[in-house]
């Protein structure tokens, strides 16, 4: 049995955490969740997740700041970060990819099952 891939979900809305955690766990991933940047950085450094889903609106923090922090930290910068947001400005996906994101997903376009499929695709 292969070692389950580690996914970190950075999200502050408890309903969404509940939903995505349940589906991803069911799919066999090892899920970690964080509500804020600091929590996330700790997990990234300790667990070295294979994939990070990052929300853009996190209480006092902006997801893009967290992305920047990950991408400028020598220890974390290799982490594969996928932005998961309900913002859908046209240029946003290009922008975040330039800033180091691996991909950009519009939350409302993916039900949890489809997100799992996406995660599998990223981790191939």
């Amino acid at each position: 049995m292969p070692i389950p891939k580690k996914i970190l979900l950075i999200e502050d809305d408890p309903d969404q955490v509940l939903m995505y955690e349940m589906e991803l766990t069911k799919a066999g991933f090892n899920i970690f969740t964080a509500r804020c940047g600091n929590e996330a950085f700790g997990i990234i450094k300790k667990e070295k997740p294979d994939l990070v889903f990052l929300d853009l609106l996190l209480g006092p923090e902006k997801g893009r700041d967290i992305l920047a922090a990950i991408k400028t930290d020598a220890e974390m910068k290799k982490t594969k970060v996928v932005i998961l947001s309900n913002f859908n400005q046209k240029d946003l996906p290009i922008l975040v990819k330039k800033e180091g994101a691996f991909d950009f997903l519009n939350k409302s376009e993916y039900v949890p099952k489809e997100l799992v499929a996406k995660a599998k695709e990223y981790l191939k």
Partner: protein
Amino acid sequence: MQLLLIVIHLIGAFITLSLGIALLLKSRSGVNIIFSLLCFCVTIWIFGTFEILLNAGSPDVILSWDRFVYLGVIPMPLFAYHFSLIFSKAKDKFVLYAGYFSTIIFLLLSRTDYFAREVNLYPWGGHLKTTALHNIFLFFFLLYTAITLYKFSRYYFVTKNSLEKNQTKYILLSFYILTLGSLSFAPAYGINILPVGDMSAIIFSSLIAYSIIRYRLLGVRVILSNIYLYTLTSALAYAYFYLVLHLHFKYLGGPYTAAALSAGVTLSFIFSFIFLPFVNYIRRTSDTIFFKGYNPARIIKDLTIKFSKVIAIDDLLKILIDEFKKVLSSDQVGMIVFRNGNTERKNKKRSIASRQIDNFSVEWLKFKGKNNFYEEVESIKSIKVRDELKSIGEPSAGIADIMDKAGIKIISPLIAHEKLIGTIVLGDKISQEGYTQEDIEFLEIISSQAAVAIENALLYKEIGEMNKNLQKKVEEKTTELRDKNEYLEKLLVMRSEFLDIASHQLRTPVTVIRGMTSMILEGGMPENKINEFLKAMLDKSGKLAEIINDILRASEMDSEKVLLKFTKVDLNTFLTKLVDDKQIQAKTKEIGLKLSLPKTPLPAIQADERYLEQSVGNLINNSFQYTPKNGKVEVSARLNGKKIEIRVSDTGIGIPANDLPKLFSKFSRASNAIAMYTDGTGLGLFIVKRIIEEHKGGKVCVEKTVEGKGTTFLITLAV
């Protein structure tokens, strides 16, 4: 001596004849005809005497010429008297008719021996020997002369018209001198004196001519100046001709020799060189004599050059005023330029565009009611001299009235393109003398020139003002457009931010509802999880409804006047219920929510309960959303005079001062709001403001806010 007398008489006859003809040519008015007749009589007298002097020693010739002289002498006192009547506007018909009757009788009888016969011969000539009737005539002569002098003297003291006073002064003097001519009767009684009394006739006519020139008496200045010019010019031609003739006879052996003819060519050239400068010289002296040193052409030329250098109306007026003061020697000079003199005819309201008034009071400058200055000036159309106007009560009374009140002696309307644009007014001369004919003509000419210059200046001013206004308007509009543009740009940015946020806020609950639904449908989920999911979905759909509500309400309020349904609302129950409803939310957020009402129940107010609930509710929601866990939110209400004050205060993050001004506008969120509250649409406060302001006496504001400590919103409503 004899020759001198002959020449003087010839000149005298010529002058008086010219004067008489000139007067008739100028005008056939009563005064001119009578005075011409008087001149002709004097001419007959002087010319007759000239013939007598010429024929000294021939009794028969002298007899017939002396009878000729009496043809002129007999009517003289009567014409003089008649002239005095007309001039002093007196009516004394009996004396006049009696005079005419007597004159005719004397004229008829003067041909007979009852009047005179034979001749008293003297070395210089002679005179008829008088008989009985001549004595009666002499009495008649002296009587009418005396009455005439009396008439003029009285008029001199009676008249208040300074111009007429001056005229009378000269007439009186002339007639006194003419009276000296009575000495010429002496030879008739055997007294041998030279006919120097006739000199009085020459002095008389010269004085009259002078007063004509100086004081517009009988008005023949132009004709006289022409007679002067032509006489002297022809005199030159004659003199030159005789000089040449003399030279020819003396040195060239007669005018028809070859030498004379060839010299004639050279002499003609010389004449042509002399002629023009001479004529110009005469013309100049004519100006000096007849126009009192005015050379209208030169003054106008100078003025026109000055005009052309100025375009500012005030400067132009100053130049004109100075010129008037200089030329007319008056220090009371005023120029008034009417504003919109050529437009706005309908409302008849006039004002002054520019004026310069030196040494006048200005109370008479009014444009309303009786003696409306503009209307009165407009009615006169041409230059008016106060002394020549009819007295008060007649057609020109209005302007006369104004002139009297203001002390104006002359008023000259400035007319350009048949429209009255202004006026010149003159008070007394410094010398207190009357204005002369040349003064008035100068004014007339300058007025028309000035009118054009002033009109140009007015137009220039108008264009200048128009330009200024236009520029100002353009600048205003540009600023307005720029502001509007900036506002629109800002609005666009805000709108796009709003759309980003609103769509995010709409999608978030949808994502959860959709995601969870799909998971439940996949099946295999434990019952307790399903329940947890359903609860979350319910919560999210509630949020969704709230957001949709906000957006709809905001767009409704943005597009039209909000239509509220006012009913009586009891604030005590209203607030209690609202705060109770919000307690659940407060608990979830772990925030303390409290309501404090005064002990005395609040009075009911007229309000739309549903909208008011949304407003206060929005403020409470805002407080929840910007207040961290364990914070406090308090709703309170109290009566302050005739106002109800509802406060919603929290211990939240506060609002930065920079964001306060735009706080209540659409799509606006405080710059620090994004940090705390991710569900805000930026519409809440805009809706609150619109709703509250639709209520009677309704106002909403941030009463106080401290960043990091909290905010208090205050709603004020009228009872």
